[in-house]
């Protein structure tokens, strides 16, 4: 079994910045991702990001990824990258088992940083297993990574930023978005994103959801209906929309299973997306030397995931005995950035969730 100084699991924005800070401090890093390419969600984001200059706002997600991977390139053999490698098991003594192709191996790390992100939530409705019903992330992967259109006419379910942005990206790919339905009484994501698709003719229907998918071998239509205040469907309000694709974007849940395997304490916090690890001030889990950051810790944005990754990287480097220049000052500034990013109405949910978790914001 190989021993590593620091292992980062997950090469999305959180994992990449954590790795960068560790490398900057002189530590050796083993960065693991199950995908072919590093970047996590960033590989699919062709739109410009929000935030401020510090988090590369106004750059497209894919361009932010390039900036981050270019900086990684500077560290040569201090950095080992294992792509197409999935961590499948975790043990208490910080041993992880990995699978890559038909190879199976174990690694041990002095410090382990979890940045595994989140998985998409499913939505129960009749015939939701018909071909043509997709999760939003799958649609993005098809379109933006492989250049394949999922269909010609889409019903989008969910008005969070993901539903709004994927609708826009579908239109850019030449796919018609027939309507977007949202169960709540108002749009969940940024209104600028909503206005962007509305002015191109997409109907946004609040208090509405999908009742069932219709079709023999694949989706031929979708039946939608209005919901009352208790989110119960109103009989008689059904409408049929001719679509060949139903795209579900109803939220993400942190991927905490591996952490739970090694006995890390988690807590269910609805506002943060589900079961999340309980973290201390250092972003350390209940197991010493094991850290968590990004969507895994709370479903948020790439901007905040990058800031959290940096904080974790600095903390882990310090506890490895590496000296980090201006560490206290930098951590303070990074915490300030998080506070700014979460300071407005879109941050209400995360602030509430973190409070429940006992984390100071």
């Amino acid at each position: 079994m190989q021993n590593k100084e620091a292992i980062v699991i997950g090469g999305g924005p959180a994992g990449l910045t954590a790795a960068l800070e560790l490398l900057k401090a002189g530590a050796s890093v083993c960065l693991i991702d199950r995908n072919e390419r590093l970047g996590g969600q960033l590989t699919k984001q062709t739109h410009m990001f929000f935030g401020s200059e510090k988090q590369y706002a106004s750059h497209r997600g894919i361009d932010i990824l390039e900036i981050l991977t270019n900086s990684l390139g500077k560290y040569g053999n201090k950095l080992e990258i294992l792509t197409e490698t999935t961590v499948v098991g975790m043990y208490r003594d910080k041993v992880l088992s990995c699978v890559s192709g038909d190879k199976f191996f174990k690694l041990q790390g002095e410090k382990i940083i979890f940045a595994t992100g989140a998985s998409e939530k499913a939505l129960p409705f009749e015939n939701n297993d018909l071909p043509g019903v997709y999760a939003a992330g799958a649609v993005q992967t098809l379109m933006n990574e492989y250049g394949i259109k999922p269909g010609e006419k889409v019903l989008m379910v969910g008005s969070g930023n993901i539903g709004l942005i994927v609708s826009y990206q579908l239109m850019q790919a030449g796919v018609e978005v027939v309507a977007l339905v949202e169960a709540a009484d108002r749009i969940g994501g940024y209104l600028v994103h909503a206005s962007k698709i509305k002015r191109l003719g997409v109907d946004i229907l609040t208090n509405t959801s999908v009742k069932r998918a219709i079709g023999k071998d694949s989706v031929e239509a979708a039946e939608i209906w209005e919901l009352d205040e208790q989110w119960q469907g109103i009989e008689g309000s059904e409408r049929t929309l001719e679509v060949d694709t139903i795209c579900v974007a109803v939220g993400l849940a942190p991927l905490t299973e591996l952490l739970q395997q090694m006995g890390v304490n988690v807590k269910y916090v609805n506002e943060l997306g589900g079961n999340v690890p309980i973290l201390d001030e250092q972003y350390q889990t209940s197991v010493e030397g094991v850290y968590a950051c990004g969507d895994l810790a709370n479903i948020e944005e790439a901007s905040s995931a990058m800031v959290e990754g940096r904080i974790v990287g600095i903390n882990a480097a310090r506890s490895l005995g590496r000296s980090v220049e201006n560490a206290d000052f930098r951590i303070k500034a990074l915490r300030h950035e998080l506070k700014d990013l979460r300071g407005g109405p879109p941050g209400d949910k995360v602030r509430k969730g973190l409070k429940k978790l006992g984390v100071a914001t």
Partner: protein
């Protein structure tokens, strides 16, 4: 209602416009109605005409005296929430952000859309800026009848390619 369907009210829209006299020169109209953590409009403007301020969740405010209508903020805004508008005789000249292909061509007649996604009139494309600086958000210059000043927001995208 914008929270329900993405369409701002006419009052909300008009509140972001300067007087028509001011619009004799091109000015940026910022339609960012809800507080979000974002400020590239402020940092991209070379004339310091836009302020978000210390708290990046504040809504951007514009100083029309400083704004030259250059259009730089238009293609730097991730929300595509800014347009530049000018009144010239019986025409309104717009600079709008556009992220679809194919790009319209100079001289082309295009369908002009309202904020609720209806075709309201025809306009003429007078210039297309789509260089490296615009970084895939093209700046389309558009001339439309002045009566649609407060209604026009973008141009129609055609499907089926």
């Amino acid at each position: 209602m914008i929270e329900k369907n993405g369409v701002p009210s006419m009052n909300q829209v008009k509140a972001e416009f300067p007087t028509q006299e001011t619009l004799a020169k091109p000015k940026a109209i910022i339609e960012c109605y809800k507080r979000i953590p974002c400020n590239p409009c402020e940092t991209s403007c070379p004339f310091d005409a836009i302020t978000v301020g210390e708290d990046i969740n504040e809504r951007p405010r514009i100083d029309f005296e400083k704004c030259t209508g250059c259009g730089i903020c238009v293609y730097n805004c991730p929300g595509l929430a800014i347009t530049v508008t000018q009144i010239k005789g019986d025409q309104a000249h717009l600079k709008i952000p556009y992220e679809f292909t194919p790009l319209p061509e100079k001289g082309e007649s295009v369908n002009v859309m309202s904020r609720s996604g209806e075709v309201i009139t025809q306009g003429t494309v007078t210039k297309v800026q789509a260089g490296k600086k615009q970084n895939k958000t093209a700046l389309i210059h558009l001339s439309i009848p002045k009566e649609f000043l407060y209604d026009a927001i973008t141009i129609e995208v055609s499907y089926g390619s």
